[in-house]
């Protein structure tokens, strides 16, 4: 028993190959994240996997000063990033001075080991100007 269903496994396989995979709906053409068995916009089931181009901007962020557990060393940045494909995800912003962060700032995809998930996870860094 793997404990991981097929859409989450496909997403994890993408990460293992160094790719952030999104689902695109064959019926309405929109993207979605997190992965699902049906389109959350139109309920369509013709979903295909596409590789995120890697660009986005900060929708909101916070500098966590008291970590959730001993697995996490504060301070760290928890952010919501809007990808250029039109989906939003929770992530870390890395290699940034928290004082310089602002909503709307362009960011670029990277991958990094995080505390409690297997393998590298998508994170973002400020995009090169």
């Amino acid at each position: 028993m793997s404990g991981v269903d097929v859409v989450n496994q496909a997403y994890a396989d993408g990460l293992a190959a160094g790719q952030l995979l999104l689902q695109r709906c064959g019926d309405c053409g929109r993207h979605q994240f997190y992965p699902r068995i049906a389109c959350s916009h139109c309920t369509g089931s013709k979903l295909t996997w596409v590789r995120a181009a890697g660009g986005g901007q900060i929708a909101s962020f916070t500098v966590v000063r008291r970590g959730v557990s001993a697995d996490f060393t504060a301070p760290y940045v928890v952010a919501l990033v809007d990808l250029d494909e039109g989906v939003r995800m929770m992530t870390h912003i890395i290699d940034a001075d928290p004082e310089q962060l602002e909503i709307g700032m362009p960011v670029a995809l990277d991958f990094q080991q995080v505390a409690i998930a297997p393998g590298r996870q998508p994170v973002f860094r400020p995009a090169a100007p």
């Binding site: 989450n8 994240f33 997190y34 929708a59 909101s60 962020f61 916070t62 500098v63 966590v64 000063r65 008291r66 970590g67 959730v68 557990s69 001993a70 697995d71 996490f72 760290y76 928890v78 952010a79 919501l80 939003r88 995800m89 929770m90 992530t91 870390h92 928290p98 602002e102 909503i103 709307g104 995080v114 505390a115 409690i116 998930a117 996870q121």
Partner: protein, 387 residues
């Protein structure tokens, strides 16, 4: 079928609260259940419905049934409800519906938990933040304050709201709590005190966050025609609404406007009231931005003006709108999911005239709001006096 406005709250009880190391969640829940039944002037055997909320600290498989068993009750209907912080009013609505439809005659809604004394702070942080998506949010270590900080930051960006304005939530809460002997924290604070408190998740500081408590409370509902024979003047249900736009904050369509707008509109419409008719608002102040956004979304001030509204002193004693006269979850009691129960028991106390130094005069209509998740699951309840 009876209408919602035929349903009355006839019993109300709060356990000792704050730091209660000698009674765990189940014992507090049973104390609240039996206490509310006695307050209503009823015998346990006259109650045919029990609705509870599971404990986060010591969850059990069949919570309402286990509560009934411990209390020596055998009600015809048991139900455990879980919509996080919104559970209080969701459960109350289903209790009322059971009475309206004739499924049950008299229903107890009872909740208790012991986050303060029966769980370590470290474990409480992990348990509470586990409302985050296990695969797509939790790997990034969000805490519950961090979820609300994302909302606060977005509100600051959209409307120019300031950290000082968020700080006004605790100033108002403590001003009320200082008048309530049962509040866990009663010392008044200033905006400067809040700003100087320990940073938790920017822009939120320790004093932007609710407290961690032990405590339980219960209420008894029945039909108005039965209520007339009971000792207390009944408090009537007048309107109710819910709204659920998402569960996980990363899936929210808006960080700055919530489904409280839907639930509030529906509740006021059912009651046939306008927000200006509300004399007491018992809101879900788990974090300062949650209170500020509810004030906007429920219509007490315009969208974007919550910061100015709080800073004006409108919600403090003597202000234009009494908000959380018991002190709310920022100061009075927040044991976990039961937090909004104390907004309800305080409203009943206000109607009965037992609120001491913080007693409101000529109170007609109360709006109570609770929300679960991260501004996710919303429930609004309107209370009034018998017609």
């Amino acid at each position: 079928m009876l209408s919602l406005s035929d349903i009355a709250i006839v019993g109300s009880y709060e356990t000792r609260l704050g730091v209660v190391p000698d009674r765990g969640p189940m014992a507090l829940g049973v104390e609240a259940t039996l206490g509310a039944i006695a307050d209503a002037g009823l015998e346990p055997a006259e109650v045919d419905g029990l609705i509870t909320c599971n404990s986060l600290v010591a969850p059990v498989m069949y919570h309402a049934e286990a509560t009934a068993e411990y209390a020596g009750m055998a009600p015809g209907h048991c139900l455990s409800v879980g919509t996080g912080g919104g559970t209080t009013f969701t459960a109350l609505r289903y209790a009322a519906a059971a009475i309206q439809t004739g499924l049950a005659h008299t229903v107890v809604v009872s909740m208790a938990d012991s986050m303060r004394s029966f769980m370590t702070r470290e474990r409480a942080m992990v348990v509470q933040s586990s409302s985050g998506h296990p695969l797509y949010e939790q790997p990034y270590g969000p805490t519950v304050p961090a979820y609300y900080a994302l909302i606060a930051q977005a509100h600051m960006d959209a409307f120019g709201t300031t950290e000082s304005q968020f700080a006004e939530a605790m100033v108002s809460s403590r001003a009320w709590a200082s008048l309530n002997p049962s509040a866990q924290y009663r010392e008044q604070v200033s905006v400067e005190d809040v700003l100087a408190s320990k940073p938790i998740a920017d822009p939120l500081k320790l004093l932007d966050c609710s407290i961690v408590s032990d405590g339980g409370a219960a209420v008894v509902l029945t039909r108005l025609d039965r209520a007339r024979d009971l000792p207390h003047t009944p408090v009537m249900l007048r309107g109710y609404g819910e709204g659920h736009h998402y569960e996980h904050i990363s899936q929210a369509s808006s960080l700055i406007a919530s489904a409280a707008a839907d639930s509030g509109r529906a509740a006021l419409e059912q009651a046939g009231l306008h927000v200006r008719d509300i004399g007491l608002a018992q809101l879900y102040d788990c974090f300062s931005p949650a209170l500020l956004i509810q004030l906007e979304d429920l219509g007490f001030c315009a969208k974007g003006e919550g910061g100015d509204y709080l800073a004006s002193g409108a919600t403090r004693p003597g202000g234009q709108l009494a908000v959380n006269t018991h002190g709310g979850m920022l100061s009075h009691c927040h044991p976990g999911n039961p937090g909004a129960m104390f907004g309800l028991t305080e409203a009943i106390r206000q109607y009965r005239g037992g609120a001491g130094e913080r007693q409101l005069h000529d109170l007609e209509h109360t709006l109570l709001h609770a929300q679960g998740g991260i501004m996710s699951s919303h429930a609004t309840l309107i209370l009034g006096r018998p017609q």
